[in-house]
């Protein structure tokens, strides 16, 4: 086995894993606090990619400088989605939420299809072809940035959840809505913030993906399935689990692609997934602190 190829493959996997973690972390936050799965998470990633693409194309604001603007837009969208749609199914059986978010994902995808058409767009930024080279290894700059931001997001979210009053209120709401209400916490406010922040995280993932991928209506679905696998693998609701899950999936995919077959890489991803669930049904960090 050539050590350079092995190291390069592992590096590829780590970077791709960072991207997966980025998409999954918002999903797991929403689940952790609200105990509901947002099936439209991928579509919010897609919306953010379109906003980022429009900023780059029409206002000449690159994806990284535009991160804050996209973040604000996504917070608004997340807030509006919660206030007008999600809040109506709070306290209702799970099917209501599944159907609502699944429906929302279909509506969002088709809305974008009507407005922008099915064409693939990409942004013109010099950074997308940039890479660091070292001893036969290479590291793509946009992927490295996405990876580092994923680490920062996980750290930031952990601080938010564990060290701030808002975070404690969120965790208390997640533990028991009734008890939290008795303690003077407004659970709907916690849910609103958790949902909107989850959508902002999806937005950040979208922005960081824009220099690497194409922007088209179905782009969210490419990441949706992997994001669910990552969240379940890491333990639903665990932010650290999402990061670790993303990295594991990324590395397994890269190693199986390089040493076995690109077409079979998903097979190995799901085999590992099944194996972990067999040993730990609640995921790697399942049941741990949010």
């Amino acid at each position: 086995m050539n050590p350079t190829i092995f190291l390069q493959t592992t590096l590829n996997g780590l970077m791709t894993g960072g991207v997966y973690a980025l998409v999954a972390v918002g999903l797991t936050l929403i689940f952790g606090v609200m105990k509901i799965v947002n099936f439209a998470q991928g579509e919010f990633v897609m919306l953010a990619m379109y906003v980022s693409w429009m900023l780059a194309t029409f206002a000449h604001i690159g994806p990284y400088p535009g991160l804050l603007i996209v973040g604000a837009v996504m917070f608004g969208l997340g807030y509006a989605a919660f206030k007008f749609l999600i809040v109506r199914v709070i306290g209702k059986p799970d099917e209501a939420f599944i159907l609502l978010t699944l429906g929302l994902s279909i509506v969002l995808q088709n809305l974008v299809l009507v407005i922008f058409g099915a064409e693939y767009f990409s942004i013109d930024t010099p950074i997308k072809d940039e890479a660091f080279h070292m001893g036969g290894l290479s590291l793509s700059v946009p992927r490295l940035i996405a990876f580092l931001v994923a680490l920062l997001m996980v750290a930031g979210l952990s601080i938010l959840l564990n060290r701030t009053d808002l975070g404690r209120a969120m965790r208390a709401t997640a533990e028991s809505r009734e008890v939290a209400t008795l303690l003077g916490i407004n659970p709907i406010r916690c849910f609103t913030i958790a949902f909107a922040v989850g959508i902002v995280l999806a937005g950040a993932a979208g922005v960081l993906l824009t220099p690497m991928f194409y922007v088209f209506p179905g782009v969210g679905t490419l990441f949706n399935l992997t994001a669910f696998v990552v969240v379940v693998l890491g333990g639903m609701g665990s932010v650290t689990g999402a990061l670790l899950g993303g990295l594991i999936i990324g590395i397994v995919e890269a190693l199986s692609s390089t040493y076995i077959s690109l077409d079979l890489s998903q097979l190995f991803t799901f085999l590992i997934f099944l194996a972990v669930l067999f040993i730990r049904p609640s995921g790697l960090f399942g049941g741990a602190a949010k």
Binding site: N2, I5, Q8, T9, N12, M15, T16, G117, A118, E119, Y120, S122, K128, D129, E130, A131, H133, S138, S140, F213, Y214, F216, L222, F223, E253, A254, S257, T258, S261, L262, D263, S265
Partner: protein, 409 residues
């Protein structure tokens, strides 16, 4: 009450009169002949489909501007643009709808093989002649009577690429021995790559990597790592635009630079340059047609067509637009010669089509000759290289407009 009855009678008479007047005007006015352009105008293959449509539209406008179909009293052509989407599942139903409702006399079939194949039986059933500029061998390999194919077969591509590599080795002493083939795991990818694989081994090269990847993959780093590990000196990628761009930009990032001999499609369309910019210069690919091959550039009337196209659509006339233009001119030629817009007569004329004039002159080697299967049996692919931000024909030498630029060592 009386008033209401009176008004109703007056209104009915007026409407009837208007209806008669409209029908009369239509009959006395210039006749309009509908031809369909059935291409992928949305989805992942829209960039190719829009080139197809642009080529067909230019041909229709050129014909109408020159007085329409003279043998039919100057009848004007009308192009019906049909979006076949990029999903093969929609192809047959869309074709069924168009042939049953639009009254088209002929159709330019999709430039993407995977979309063309499912719609051909529908055209056959509707008895509408179709001319294809897509390359799959099966298009004219199934005995259809109403299907014609003017672009080279996909199986000719592999041979052209390998012959080109041999020519490079001889002429520029590149010493290439180890070759890698990577391809999209789809109908187009598997059939084209299969052809390349056979010719690579028969041509005396070592096939060091033969790897497929799923369509629409999001990360090419593992694929490029495999290419790097194989130490291939030349790479034959078979990919549509989005995957081609992903592979090339990942190769640039990872500093992997074998001689790339693209399998057409994504490597020669304008979007390739839009994405890569001047970094596209130097890339080589096989092509079913090129705007500056000797057949096109040596005749001023033909060169003027490519100039008009460039001016109107803001991009060079690519391998989809060129043959699409030719297809519409062939339909018009058939109508002129048969003095009819009857689909059956157009089909019969096309079945023995042999033209070395301006229409045939657009396809290499300067002639179109339809054989008994409906295929333009004399056509061959060309090799292009991006030079000065445009794809230039560099091989075979008989078609070349520029010399090949060897890679800098």
């Amino acid at each position: 009450m009386k008033n209401r009855v009176l008004w109703s009678v007056v209104l009915t008479v007026l409407l009837a009169f208007l209806g008669f007047a409209m029908v009369a005007c239509q009959e006395s006015g210039t006749k309009e002949i509908k031809i369909a352009d059935m291409d992928c105008l949305s989805g992942s293959n829209a960039d190719a489909g829009i080139q197809d449509l642009n080529g067909a539209q230019l041909a229709v406008d050129d014909i109408n501007a020159a007085g329409g179909i003279k043998a039919l009293g100057g009848a004007k052509l009308k192009l019906v643009a049909v979006d076949m989407t990029s999903d093969p599942k929609n192809a047959a139903s869309t074709a069924e709808r168009v042939f049953s409702t639009e009254k088209v006399v002929a159709a330019k079939c999709p430039g993407i093989s995977g979309i063309a194949l499912p719609m051909l039986p529908i055209a056959e059933k509707a008895q509408v002649p179709v001319i294809c500029n897509s390359i799959n061998d099966q298009i004219t390999g199934q005995g259809y009577k109403y299907t014609f194919q003017i672009a080279p077969h996909g199986s000719q591509f592999g041979n052209a690429q390998v012959q080109f590599l041999k020519w490079l080795n001889e002429k520029y002493k590149l010493g290439i021995k180890d070759v890698a083939v990577v391809y999209e795991n789809s109908g187009y990818g598997v059939s084209t790559a299969g052809g390349v694989k056979d010719f690579v081994t028969k041509g005396g090269f070592n096939l060091v990597l033969y790897e497929s990847y799923p369509h629409g993959f999001t990360d090419a780093s593992s694929l490029v790592t495999k290419v790097k590990a194989s130490k291939a000196q030349a790479l034959f990628p078979v990919a549509y635009t989005t995957d081609a761009k992903l592979i090339i930009s990942t190769m640039n990032q990872m500093n992997v630079h074998p001689v790339v001999v693209g399998g057409g499609a994504g490597f020669i369309w304008p979007a390739f340059f839009t994405e890569l910019g001047p970094a596209a210069n130097g890339f080589v690919s096989v092509a079913s047609w090129n705007w500056d091959s000797k057949a096109m550039s040596s005749k001023p009337e033909l060169a003027a067509i490519t100039e008009r196209y460039q001016k109107r659509f803001g991009a060079f006339m690519g391998e989809h637009a060129g043959p699409s233009y030719v297809a519409i001119r062939m339909f018009a030629d058939a109508m002129e010669q048969t003095k009819s817009s009857d689909s059956k007569k157009i089909r019969d004329y096309l079945a023995t089509y042999n033209n070395s004039g301006l229409i045939g002159g657009m396809m290499q080697p300067g002639t179109i000759k339809i054989d008994s299967t409906g295929f333009n049996g004399v056509v061959h692919p060309v090799m292009i290289q991006w030079q000065d931000n445009l794809p230039r024909t560099v091989y075979p030498e008989v078609d070349a407009s520029r010399s090949y630029m060897p890679p800098k060592k």
